[in-house]
Symmetry: C2
């Protein structure tokens, strides 16, 4: 038996307004005046002076606004890396991702691909990255994905949706300022928060669970219940607690894995471009047989927040399309092994998955 | 308002038997054959082949066994550093601390003092360390102190008992193998576990608390209650959970502080050499007015585990001796400010502390 030597984010700052300390944190990390900082920022902040005025650009530093209408792609990472290399006199001093899970994953992937040859798709999988990434900072503006703390960056490639899982993936620095999440639209708040909730359920009921992951998972689950089921938190407290829930939920996956909802949701994203948060919810809503208690509480949360999930998204798909989704889902073997155990192939058949997808 | 940019242990391995992976973890960190690894090991393991046979010594690597009959001292750190410099051809590749809080604190302090001039006592305080420490690894063999994760190393100096608090203090690597705690004597298990429990109570009731520290504190407190009040954990589960409780309890202090029990217990240690774990318990037992619920639960735990605390340890002290303890306790201003608030000096008088000490 050997255990994973888990890489943790070595620096974290937590606090309402801590985003104001960004420039002070970056200054000592500047390599020289020809090595810029590149800020990858969700384009919802494009004309948002409240946020952008606090990013001070020196020398050749650049802000690149990025649309997150679609899930991040390996080709998008490759293009960003090419643009950054062309626009910079020297290798950048660092990449700073400001946004939700998509932006954080892009920042992680770009910082890896600046020092590793070839294309991003070559590194989808486990421990394929050879060289350390450049300095990279994650600043979440929506809570739930756990991308701020995880050792993966999930990308849709030509062949599959899969993470670049490596010891070089985690951020060197994270800034947790819950004030940045204050304007998240309600549906997105719910879907992304449920990503965290589903991480907890999948981790806590999984066969990979150990005391490390269990303690983080229990803590995140408890916070999710306070936030999504109870009524006694102030708006600010709820934002701060959801930010911590996301962090702990991500830590819970360290020694564990996600499960059925994530495996099937990757299929939906790959074929239909369904975004991760809502995709997880669409799938999880139909997983009573795997997660009876977890799904029951999820349905209570949905009712409490008056959330209506998209229906019938698979109703007009062809056999070939079902097969594509099923292939993607079944390829995520560690997720099934965690959820069901070593013998998962006995019960998780193509027919089983097709039946489930047809309900969605 | 500015927030602390908290340094976290960048690598952690958790698992029963993970100590077997020590040599594999160290190998890539060896600078050259003249730069040894120095293992500081609690001398309770001196003839324990089960543990020592798994430390493989190459080139000039050395094991130094250290007695923990007394709390770690600044002079002890200075002597260790001098010995290590004399015995090594070059600056060591790393310091590995194997033991309880005392050994972990010594390993942290030695790794700092190898690269910083002067004496350890010069660095007692906050952010006085100038140069990064050498690579240092912490391997707890008893759970509760949180020393494996904290940014301090608490030392008794000529003038005071106070930590070297710095961003360079935390370990570069921690190995959490609960199997190493299997032979801890019952009293020591209780006293050290209560260090964690008291961290939680002091952090959770403190004025410095934020959502970050609260979530870690709640998690650790819940684990402590499972371990010390309930009966449904296996021996191994209880050991694993206590190891995680210690970790999370330490993390809870990140943005918070300890409080009354720690401040007064430092006085006991400084004057009487009372060890930290039992000292905390002796003090906490008399702190109902500050921590009513916490002390009530503590007394339940004491009864459940049939623990008798030393009594009357201050009964024959002179006025001068009381004054020394009171001076040490009152000098720990951040602890009082966290416990009581900005106006703590109004209620925490010398007479008040003398009254409390006299009960112990």
């Amino acid at each position: 038996m050997t255990y994973k030597n888990f890489p943790m984010v070595p620096r974290v700052i937590f606090g309402r307004g801590s985003f104001n300390q960004l420039n002070e944190i970056l200054a000592p990390k500047r390599l020289n005046m020809n090595a810029p900082f590149i800020f990858l920022v969700d384009d919802v902040f494009k004309n948002n002076v409240w946020l952008t005025s606090r990013i001070s650009l020196s020398y050749d530093d650049k802000i690149v606004f990025i649309s997150t209408k679609e899930e991040p792609k390996t080709s998008q990472v490759d293009e960003l890396v090419e643009d950054i290399i062309l626009m910079s006199k020297e290798r950048p001093s660092g990449i700073i991702g400001i946004g939700g899970g998509a932006l954080l994953d892009l920042a992680k992937a770009v910082s890896i691909m600046i020092t590793n040859e070839g294309e991003a798709k070559d590194y989808q999988g486990w421990d394929l990255v050879k060289n350390p990434a450049i300095y990279h900072v994650g600043i979440p503006t929506i809570s739930g994905t756990g991308a701020e703390v995880s050792r993966t960056t999930v990308l849709t490639g030509p062949d599959r949706k899969l993470g670049i899982n490596s010891d070089y993936t985690p951020f060197d620095q994270v800034i947790l300022d819950s004030e940045l999440t204050k304007d998240v639209p309600k549906n997105q708040w719910f879907y992304t928060g449920m990503d965290c909730y589903i991480h907890c359920i999948e981790s806590l009921t999984g066969t990979y669970l150990n005391a490390f992951s269990e303690s983080y998972g229990e803590m995140a689950l408890d916070l999710c219940k306070q936030i999504f089921l109870e009524d006694n938190l102030s708006t600010i407290d709820a934002q701060e607690k959801l930010m911590m829930a996301s962090w702990h939920g991500g830590m819970s996956i360290a020694y564990s894995q996600v499960g059925v909802a994530h495996a099937m949701s990757y299929g939906l994203s790959y074929l239909l471009g369904i975004k991760h948060g809502v995709g997880n919810c669409i799938v999880f809503d139909h997983l009573e047989e795997f997660y009876p208690e977890g799904v029951e509480v999820f349905k209570q949360m949905k009712i409490k927040h008056n959330i209506t999930l998209p229906q019938g998204i698979c109703s007009s798909l062809s056999d070939k399309e079902f097969d594509i989704m099923i292939d993607v889902a079944l390829s995520l073997e560690p997720l099934w092994e965690n959820a069901i155990g070593n013998n998962w192939k006995k019960t998780i058949t193509r027919e089983k998955l097709r039946d489930l997808y047809q309900k969605m």
